[in-house]
Subunit: 325 residues, 2 copies
DNA sequence: GCACTTTACGTAAACGTTTACAACACCCTA
DNA sequence: TAGGGTGTTGTAAACGTTTACGTAAAGTGC
């Protein structure tokens, strides 16, 4: 049998209450002598606390639930890393729950699991729940925060990059480099995509450019490869891509049909993961700080008041050509 | 207050025992009529079971703990995906615990956390515990399994590729293509590295090749870039790399100094993740089935009797040149 | 109509902690 | 010496489930 505080109490001749106080470090409520004795005996017995019992009586578990899409984007590990580190600092464990791919049923199950565990916070990473689940979350009394997704609703916590700013900065940069025929590729039809389109169109308009060219996709490498086909008949000189994988797909498919990057086509990728270093040429990117997005989301959900938007930066690599006017 | 089975019992006029039996589906112990009534009332009240209470009385939680290195290799998401899916099928939740980077302190903490939660199994992914922790695990009474690491010790569960087979197959393939000056790059100094070296040397010897060339590294892209420098003065025609990232690093560094792949240098990468498709040329690889490694490790740790070694295959892309004899 | 089984449900203990409250010893101060 | 404070400990209830055991009612076979 695993030893319990009862065993320690029996062995040390004190009550379980005292053992509990020592073990949970309610300082000031016990003498140094008993502390030493209890710690010694606990060690001797190989005592491990029973988390379930603690959570039952405390009615809240020191765990943050992270709900993820099943398709692990190449940034999710960085986000989780940030979550994990910050959670550790705050004494919280992390439990990861997969929610399938826009699978409302699985997502619902994941949320229910988190609620049943009475976690101290729920982080939804790149996930958009339906209204029923959003209501469920709101009524649960457990704080939740959207990560890498901005819903633009009042009183809903979130931490992400500013999608409008991402695309408008990308446009600014390309215009600076002399481009005017600029497309946006691989965007989704949900919140993130919509916001990026808004930023793209605002950026274009600010420079007096009215022709917009937008192609949808799903952030994957394969999607990028397919998208290149759609650009063949068009005469854009630069493409802003919704992810590094989209950029890599476009890049490779382009090179296969003899289109040179950046000589014939410039690319600015959104994300800036290590993929950007691996391709030839390297991909100039609007780089998101995923680690910080993760760590700030933990602060956010634990009630600390921190930024909603984490800044991005442009990393110049080799995929954009400077056009002479 | 969150409703409990007591509230349901009060509202439906039965005892909490009956409510519990219905809710935990002890079929055959209740009538359809009471079942219907209880389920209806539970729904009305928005009842959620309290996992902590269940775990306390059952003395085991339906959760598998996955302990990971902090440096998320690009295959870990695939492994976790496999774990997650299979665990879901078996009704187990998954909790992820990071263990830092060969940080014995953090690893110990992660193991203790898993034990305190009385998880139903512990999966150690690409992690080598020290003797004290191994003893702790063995004495815990909780099954554990090494994932993507083979310790070659009796009675220790593990699921991985066969590292000796990986490198010997790579050697076979390169010899088939006419290579004889074959190096091994980016290998670590622990179990995995040692096994891969054994396979490499056995493979070389089997073909009558006696000169071996081994360079150590840490699986990262940067490590690959550095390694290329070491190969410059040597005259190898082919390199087997310990990971896709190592291969990508060598590839890019090589191209920068005018070494063409595969014309001047052939590469066979170990892992076969999407990285192999993204580089130019694509990387020929010994591809590991990480998803299956993950899913089988769940079976293993849950007591099902499944394979310890998951087969690998060679995927030909563009990084190996066929040398005429 | 009897003995026996089955079905459906209730009672109460148990799981391992935390914590409000009480109790006691001791010391200090007026 | 009374009164109060402080430091340390014990008692016991509480957290929300599961489940062994008991029991009453209903069904079965003869």
């Amino acid at each position: 049998m695993k030893p319990t505080i009862k065993d320690i109490a029996a062995r040390s001749g004190v009550s379980i209450a005292t053992v509990s106080r020592v073990l949970s470090q309610k300082t000031g409520t016990y003498s140094e002598k008993t502390q030493a004795k209890i710690l010694r005996i606990a060690k001797e017995l190989g005592y491990r606390k029973n988390t379930a019992a603690v959570e039952l009586v405390k009615k809240r578990s020191a765990v943050i639930a992270v709900i993820l899409n099943a398709t692990p984007t190449n940034f999710s590990t960085e986000v989780i890393d940030g979550i994990q580190k910050r959670a550790g600092e705050l004494g919280q464990g992390v439990i990861i729950l997969y929610a399938g791919n826009r699978d409302d049923q699985m997502l619902h199950q994941a949320i229910v699991t988190a609620l049943e565990r009475s976690v101290s916070g729920i982080l939804l990473t790149a996930i958009e729940p339906d209204d029923a689940d959003l209501t469920l979350l709101k009524n649960s009394g457990i704080p939740f925060c959207f990560v890498s997704l901005y819903l633009n609703q009042p009183k809903i916590l979130s931490v992400s990059s500013n999608n409008e700013s991402i695309t408008s900065q990308a446009v600014d940069y390309l215009v600076e480099q002399g481009h005017t025929a600029i497309a946006l590729a691989g965007i989704d039809g949900y919140h993130t995509g919509t916001q990026r389109i808004a930023g793209y169109e605002a950026g274009m308009k600010a420079h007096g450019l009215t022709t917009s060219c937008i192609k949808y996709g799903d952030y994957s490498y394969e999607s990028g490869r397919k998208l290149l086909q759609e650009f063949l008949p068009l005469k854009v000189t630069a493409i802003i891509t919704a992810s590094d994988m989209i950029a890599a797909g476009i890049l490779n498919a382009a090179q296969e049909v003899g289109i040179r990057v950046p000589e014939d086509l410039s690319l600015v990728s959104i994300d800036g993961t290590i993929i950007c270093n691996i391709t030839t040429p390297g991909l100039t990117s609007v780089t998101q700080d995923f680690y910080r997005i993760g760590s700030r989301s933990v602060d956010q959900v634990m009630g600390h008041d921190v930024e909603t938007f984490v800044p991005v930066r442009i990393d110049k690599r080799g995929s954009v050509k400077h056009l002479k006017k």
